[in-house]
Structures are given as structure tokens and as C-alpha cells.
Symmetry: D2
Subunit: 341 residues, 4 copies
Amino acid sequence: MRSFASDNNSGVHPAVMEQLQRVNVDHVIGYGDDLYTERAIALLQKEFGAESDIYFVFNGTGANVLGLKAITSSYHSILCAETAHLNVDECGAPEQYNGCKLQTVATEDGKLTVEPLKRFLHSEGFQHHVQPRVISISQVTELGTVYKPAEIAELASFAHQHGLYLHMDGARLANAAASLGLSLRELTADVGVDVLSFGGTKNGLMFGEAVIFFDKKLSSAFKFIRKQGMQLASKMRFVAAQFEALFTDQLWLKNAQHSNTMAQKLALKISEIPEITLARPVEANSLYVILPPQLIAPLQKEYFFYVWNEAQSEVRWITSFDTTEEDLNRFVDTIKLQLKR
Amino acid sequence: MRSFASDNNSGVHPAVMEQLQRVNVDHVIGYGDDLYTERAIALLQKEFGAESDIYFVFNGTGANVLGLKAITSSYHSILCAETAHLNVDECGAPEQYNGCKLQTVATEDGKLTVEPLKRFLHSEGFQHHVQPRVISISQVTELGTVYKPAEIAELASFAHQHGLYLHMDGARLANAAASLGLSLRELTADVGVDVLSFGGTKNGLMFGEAVIFFDKKLSSAFKFIRKQGMQLASKMRFVAAQFEALFTDQLWLKNAQHSNTMAQKLALKISEIPEITLARPVEANSLYVILPPQLIAPLQKEYFFYVWNEAQSEVRWITSFDTTEEDLNRFVDTIKLQLKR
Amino acid sequence: MRSFASDNNSGVHPAVMEQLQRVNVDHVIGYGDDLYTERAIALLQKEFGAESDIYFVFNGTGANVLGLKAITSSYHSILCAETAHLNVDECGAPEQYNGCKLQTVATEDGKLTVEPLKRFLHSEGFQHHVQPRVISISQVTELGTVYKPAEIAELASFAHQHGLYLHMDGARLANAAASLGLSLRELTADVGVDVLSFGGTKNGLMFGEAVIFFDKKLSSAFKFIRKQGMQLASKMRFVAAQFEALFTDQLWLKNAQHSNTMAQKLALKISEIPEITLARPVEANSLYVILPPQLIAPLQKEYFFYVWNEAQSEVRWITSFDTTEEDLNRFVDTIKLQLKR
Amino acid sequence: MRSFASDNNSGVHPAVMEQLQRVNVDHVIGYGDDLYTERAIALLQKEFGAESDIYFVFNGTGANVLGLKAITSSYHSILCAETAHLNVDECGAPEQYNGCKLQTVATEDGKLTVEPLKRFLHSEGFQHHVQPRVISISQVTELGTVYKPAEIAELASFAHQHGLYLHMDGARLANAAASLGLSLRELTADVGVDVLSFGGTKNGLMFGEAVIFFDKKLSSAFKFIRKQGMQLASKMRFVAAQFEALFTDQLWLKNAQHSNTMAQKLALKISEIPEITLARPVEANSLYVILPPQLIAPLQKEYFFYVWNEAQSEVRWITSFDTTEEDLNRFVDTIKLQLKR
């Protein structure tokens, strides 16, 4: 099976698997007090800045929820796009774990801008209303769009001006960096991001995300938050090793570039099928595509994927680090075949 | 480094690593809707009973806290031994996540018995007091002791008689089964355990635990609890694969038998050193040992381990699935050498 | 000062104050085990039905949040109008205390209808999404509108059909009943409401609300929820006594009728001022009024009130059980005088 | 009925009731933005210090839980006596609402001392363990004993030395002050208390407690905590008015002195009955008394009270601001009569 449902349908990159085997020797202290973890953190600090404070966790929900817990109290609110994974796909974990209300903004393209956020500031100091504390953005967004550095900087500047933090759900940050040809730092620390969930799982890891604080004042209690938050791995070396592989020879970038390229190629191939149209520009590794309604169910049988907007007959396809040209060809052939029926 | 600090200082069993590689082909649907997960669950159901409901999570804290969440409301209390990992080593996660107070009992050997639990029942229906709902026991206990089936059955019977559930933190259940020569089912489903955290990490996995419900009425909402509780792995096949390896050719049992045997051998070797005495009987894979106080610090420099009771100069050593006789010999030689200084 | 800012700016009805004094004799057991509480509950059960289960709490936030806690788990969502007090004015308490996400619907008039709620049912059983469990409506709504019994019944029927409950925030339920000429039961138990917050404070009490369950299966643990939720009064007789006064000689109805009548009279007087228009029909005791923007600030100086919609220059005025015709006249005179300046 | 079960079985002091009526005129802004609240706060600041930050809440559970929330994060622990109301009688609210574990110390007399608290500091910085943040003491304690200023100062000094706060549950602080002949400030601000729950309900109020912060840095967010915590009264003037009465002509002290005196007198009368012995010294307004076991049930029928320690046949009696000599005589006569049977 070769899936276009999500980039977590793929497996583990061979280099990551090799590194897992390589560190599988001898004993080391658990919970992160080991050389492998130290080494991985050093590698990430090279990329994100020497002053960044880096913690590995199991998954994206954990990274987002706990990173936000470090910078909020329960009477705070988190401002995000209506489409944010945080709002839609965490089964309410941010509200449940942090107590915070999410205050959402409807967007065209999944990207927040300053203007519609201003109205939430009206309640400052009014005890009956939650108090905005964080702006959370997804890079890449859930609609496949990519924030440009200036857009992030503007949000950060607005946030900081009003005593708020800027949080980034970077489950696909690597794809954004690859798309823009920029370093990870240029999209985070350099433009004012305060706390980052840096995703590895969707980019070739077996599991593992990093919560990265760009100001150590914000992370002083994070080791307790991670442990109490059920996200502290005992055999931490096996999370660290994966990140080590990802940050060796820029594997993170190569993987992201590859999946982005595959998305572009798929878009190109699709553009030749008149019954199918792209709903949105392809900026990273996801495609939002309007299909003939009667095509969806039969195609899902052979290639499972998610319907994004039933009313619009819009579906989402995602390419992975290991998607091949052959995968694309077979997928497009299947589509063409089914359209003929 | 060969450590006796904890059985999570060891790495991953080769058979587990091989299975991880074996399943690293192609794409599969995420979050557990895949054949590997189905297969692993079927294997565990063979061991624990066809009617058992099985969910994989990342780690022991997650398994304990979420398993307990499924069977408690916030005004409930959880009865456990003062020494329980749940009470001591989860950074307060059970209270924080479930809201429940832990009501603890001081024990000689880490094992709960019915008698001292009775006093907690006095508050039944009294609105000012938390309402006992779960008895939680650790098998193997945190003091290295092992509950016999009849002891578990008695606690279960007491629990059920009073409308309580019996929860087992089975981080080292395999070691208990190996120690008693009993099946996993004989120590859980057959003696009235309602919810089990079954540990894999300390017995040769890279990561991964299973939350097992022996009554499906208790687990009807657990998939939401796991997701909201940040413990749902997207690339679930890589948790499932590990359990598949563990339950193939009884690897779980072989690993546990081996570490138990190594503990017995270490105990035997230690018994020849007059300056050192065992503080407790060795029933599974851990040793509680009274050392000459001046030996502790220098020995920790070469072999890190935890001091269990500073006042008593009691330390804890744990053997692993991969501890070798040579490891034991070198360790004992080091001790002898240091004692001579 | 005579305020039109809120019906909680008024004081305590004399009959309530007298009853407080009347019960201020001798000693009684605390926490509700007293004759006064028994008597008050019996009076409310006459109104709401003998099978209703009634609990007094301190305030509206407590009534709403704890009533909802009794019927939700943390992975549930609560469906309500965007304008709901629950969503806007509880400082995030429902999310924080119950863990639940609020899923909101934009409405014209503050009233929920079935149609826009249907989309939330799509996620049933999908572990990544919160699971709708309760529809919560406000009667009177936050826009001053009143649900008719058939409208409530339709929501209840839809809720029950899909395994949801219907919750009513009845902070001003008395005003709704007075407006429609119906009994409290006809607006709650008879049309399928499952849990009700019945407000007393805005209708002449000093403090005190009742959480009323129309199915005792839902309230079996509520005494623990109330105590743990910090809403159990020790000198309960002084809450009960107020409700006794409110339900003696239909004081609740007289108070509500009076404030409703005053709202109608104020609307009539306003209708003679051409510069001012009603933004919405006056169905209970609140008026939403479009003022000339330059009038707002000076008028607020003499009569504090809340701006409802700054962009529309819309403000909210509320009449109370003790608003007098003279109050209305002076208020209108002040407005006229300021308009001349 | 004249009860010795608790000082919350009494009613409201006449001066408090009069003040409630006195402020029941006209309209005022809700939620504490009124002159009465301002006036009451000023009166309390005279007593507790001009720099104290004072918030009124509904009840003792609310005061304790929310005051502690202001100074803790969920991974913190709260150190208290095993017998603390916080630990025993809040239905788990501190754990549930704040997430914090309570770490308790067994005491002879309900009073904490520095020595047994030291062991909790061993876990500082160890991520697996909760981090002690607050020492919470009850003044008067739940065993009727009274902390002397030097004892409080020693605990405060120890707390501050180790980065902890000192919290006082002062449900009966007035009785302690009366007992020692000291001002409220001498028992709180002057000896290092950081946060105080000051109780009014047990000392003649209808309801109402004050949360008092002696350092405004600790209370900067408390208005949000109080509102989200369901403890913000809309008609706040009726809480404030009660405190105004309590702090006019030192009513708080007179009430406390009276109930203390009545306790002493009861103790004296009891001392003449050979079958009954005092289990503890009477330092404030409660008596712990060893009764002949067969006396308890029949006496409870005429005078309800709580059995403190069934094994010891120890019961608790409490006198109130309105206990009369006649009450004492009748009670003692009843006891004598029953002993004769």
C-alpha cells in the first residue's frame, strides 16, 4: 500500500532506522541523562540557536499541549485559526489539559493575520473574559499554505507588543523551510517565535517531536511539565537518536524537499485531468483537490485519504519522504481509470 | 557502561529491533487502523483472554494515568501503597490529570492487603470526603516483592464487594509471572484485575505499554481518553510491532526469566561479601541491598544506581534482559575492590 | 443610584430579606441537612415536578459549570450559541473545570436551532474530535429573546435522538415564564430539558441558584461534584430561605412580571425619541438599543450600562424587580436632556 | 435546637443581619465595583496592613483552593498536616482544582513543625517527584490547638529559605487571635504568612470568606482565578457588608472571645464529670472529649455532633458566638442524666 492520506502513513527513513540500531548498544541512564540526548540537542541547537532550550516528547499532541502549558495559566486563551490542528484534531486536549479556551479566527487559507486578532484584545483586564496569552500558528498550515518570514514576524511583533507569546505548531516546519529555501532558524527564532513544536514523525521518524523554547525563562519548569504530562520517555536515547539522524547531513531538509517535490509533480499530473481541479496552491507537501463527487468513494477504496470538505467535494492528499514517481503514476493511472468508468 | 540502576537503562532486544525493521515497509493507515496493530492485539488477547480490550500507549505514566481515568471521576480516590510508583514517581500526574486523591497505606514490603484498606470505606457517601473507587497495586512491587494470585484475588474480591475496581501497574508483570511460573492471565484476568498497565519498556522494548481492560464496559470511551491524553501514536505499527515480537516465542517470558535469574545470581554472589546484606528477599529482578555508607558514592561513580533509603544505607539494583554473567562478575569485582580501599 | 446595567445591580427583595431574618434563629445542622432546605426543595419540586432533584449553589457560574460536569466527560463538547454567557462571560470556567470544548453557533437572535447543530454530529466516534454531549441554551437568551416551548422541545428531541442532553442556563428563566405566561415546568421538564440552572440572584435574591436535574440518574454523584466544586454552603438554610421566599405566593413570577413590564414601558418611552431605536424586540426584561454614538459616554456617567456592540453603537439596558416608573422617567428625562446638548 | 457540632450550625450575628439590611438600598454595580466593597476592604486593610490585597469569596473551600491556585503550578506539592481540613474535608478539591499533590505529616496536635517537613525538600529539581511549593497550616488547627507567633514565624522562615510560601487556612483565625490576645496582623503578616484564608462564616457571618495576599505580586491574577473559580459574587455588596459589620467595633474579636469563653466554661463543667475526660487542651472554641462509648449514640440523638476518633471514643464539640450559659447547662444536664441511665 502506498498512501496519500497523510505523511504519517509512511514508515521510518532508513538512516533513522540505522541510527536506532547504532545506539542500541550497552546501557545508558534513562530519561535523557545520556550522551545521545546531549548530542542530539547540540545538533538541534546548531540549527535553532545556541540559546534554544530543547526537549523531546513522544508526539505532536504532547508537544503542542505541553509547550502551551509552559506559557499559559488556565484563565488565558489561545488564539488560533479555526482550522488549526490544535482546535480541530486534538480531541479537546488543549482545553482539557491547560484549561485554556481557544479563540479562533476564520481564515481563507489557514493563515492568521494581525487584523482579525485585534478584537480579542478588547477584554484585557476584564475579569469575566478569558485573557489572550498566546497566538498559535501552524507552519505548514492545515490548508497546505506556508507563512513567509515577514508574516510570522508581524504576528510576533503584534503578540509581543501586547504581552502575548507566539507559538508555532511546526509538525511540518521542515516542509515549510524546504518550500521557502530558508533555514529553520529564519522561520522561528529569527522572526520572533517563542515556543515551537518541531515535528519529526511526519518527516521520516518513527515517533518523536521536539518542544523548543527560544527564551529559557519560559522553560524553567518544563522538565516537570513534561514528566507530569506523561511525555517523558525512559529510554530517551531512542528518541534522541532519531533526531540525530534527522539532523545529520540535513536529512530533515532532504526528506522535506523530496515530499514537496512529489507534491508538485502530483499537482502537475493532476492538472492534465480536466475533471479535477486544485482547490488551493500547492506550497508544501499537501494537495487540496476538488474531485467529481462520484469518484471519491471508489478511489478511497484503493487509496484511503480524507475528505476535507464534503460540500465542496474537496479532498486532501499528502506526499511523504518516501513517495516515489512510480507511486504518483500508479495513483494518477487509477484516477484516470476510474474516471472512465 | 553496564548499569544496575534500572531495567530501563538497557536497550532494545534484537528480536524487537528486527521486527521494527520488518514492519518498516510500505504505507499503512495511522493511529492503529492497521494490520500490525490488529495482529499484536490478537497475540495479546491469546495471552490475556479473548474478551480483553487492549490499547497501546507510549509509556508507563500514560498507561497508569489514563487507565485510571477510564474508571474514576474526580471526586474518587485511588488506594495504593505509600511506595507505589503512582504515588512517588509520576510527578503528581494521577492527581493532576484525574483529579483524584491518592490515599496511601504504609506497608512492610510494598504489598497492599485488605485490612488497612477498610478504614477508607468509612467515608462512603459522606460528601466532604473523597470516595474510594480503585485499589491500585504494583506487580512486581516497588520493593521487589511479588503478589501471589491468592493475594490479588483477595484484594479484587474486597474491591468488587465494595464497588471498587482493582487496577494493576504491571510495569514488571512479566517478571512476576516468570518468578511464580504462572501465565499473565493467571495473575490478572483470572484473579479479578479490572484494568492493567502492561509494561514492555522495562522488558526489552524501545518504548510502549499496553492498557488492558478485562471488562469492555470500562473501556468504551478509552480511545478518546487516549487521544485527548496525548498517548495516541500516529505510526502505531511501530508500537504494535514491538509487542508482536515480545509475544512471539514467549520472548516476554524469556526476557523476564533471564533478568530474574541474573538477580538471583547477583544475590548469591553478594551473599559472599560479609559487608553487604540483602535488605529484602529477591523475588524478581531487583535487589535491595544494605551497603557500607562509605561505599555508595565511589561505587555510584562507576555504576550509577539509586539510593533507596539514605538513613538505612539501602540501595536498589536491578538486572535487565541483557545483563550478562560477565556484567555481574565485573560489578562484584568492583565492589570487592572498593571495599578493600 | 438606579441602574439599568444589569438586574444584579438591584438589591434583595424585602420578602427575601424577611425570610432570612425569620430563619435566623437557633442552630441547625450545616450543609443542607436542615428543615429549611427540605422545605425549600419541596416548594421547588411542586413547581418543577416531584421527581426533580434539586441542589442549591452560590452563583450562576457554579450552577452552569457543575451542572454540566455531572453530564459530561472531558472529551465531550458542549454545543451553544456564540453569544452564550457560558461561552463569553465565565472566564473560560466550562473549559477549565470540565475540560470540555465549547462548539459554538453564530445566531441572529441568540437562539439555537437544530439545523446548524447537525454538522457537529459528523465526528461521532472519530477519536481525533471531541464528542458532542450537551446542547446548552440560555432562557432568556443573552440577546433578550425567549425560546417558545416548541423550540425547546425540538432541540430536546434532536438531542435525545443523538445521545445528547439538553442543558438550560435559566439565569432569567422566571422572566421567560412571565413573558410567555407559562409555568416553569412547561418550559423545562415538560419539553425535555435534562439539567437546569435556575437563577435566583437576578430575580430578587441576595445570592443563590438551583441546579435541577429532571432525571435522578444524572445527579447520583452531584453532592460530591458540588462539594468538590467549592459550591456547598455550610449555612445552607440561608440559601434555602431565599428560595422559600421566592416560591411563596409566586414571588418569582411577580418579580419577573414586574421587571418585564418595566422593560416594555421603557421601550414605549424610548420609541418616542427619534434618535434612538430598538435593535431587537423586547421579549423579557432587557432592551438592546441603538444610541447616537456621542450619547453613550455622557449617559454612562450618570447611568452605568454596558455597550453591547461598539461598531453598531448598540447598548444593553436591563430592568429589575425593583425598577420604578419614576426610575424610568428620570432615565428618559436624562436621555432627552443629553440629546439636546 | 442548640448544637455543639460545629460553629457553622449557628446563625448570623444580629449586627451582621442589620448591616445586610442597611446596604439593601438602591442599586450598585455588581462584582465588587461598589462603595461597600471598597469600604470593607479598607476596614480589613486597617487590620491586616495597608499593603494587603483582599478578595471576598463565598466559602472556605473556595478560599483555600483558589488562594493556593494563585501560588502553585500543577507539578507543585502542598505540605500540610494529615489532619488538615484541606486534606480531609474538601472532597479532594485541592488536588482536583490545582492538580497539586498534598504531602502530609502526621502530628500529635495538628500543628506542623519544621523538622518533619525537611524530608520533602530532598526531591528538589528531581523531575519524577512533585516539587514542594507551599506549607499550609490551619489556625486554629483541626485539633483545636493554636499556633503561637514564633511557631508560625519559624515555619515561614523555613518556607522562604527554600523558595516555598506559607499559606494559612484561617477559618477560625479570629478564635486564635482571641485566645492569644494578639491582633490578626501579629498572627499573619507580621510572622511571614503569604496567603491567608480568613474565615467569617464560623464567626457569625451568613457566608463569606476573604482571601488575603500579603504580597501583591502573588495576587496579580487573582481576579481571574476567582471568577474562573466560580467564587465571584455578583451582588458583592452583601458579602462586603457582612465583613464591614464584623470589623466594626471589633465584632470579630467579641464573637471569638465569646465562643472561646464558652468552650472554657464547658470544659470546666465537664471536668466535674468523672466519666468524661478532655482528650486535648482547650485553646480556642473546640473541645475534644473522651466519652463512655455507650453515651455517644444517645447523646447524639439530642445533640448532634461528630465522632472524631471512633477507636478512642473521642468526640468533638464546638461552641459558637451565640452559645449561652444556659445552652451549656442544658447540655451538661443532658449528659449527666444520660450517664445515670
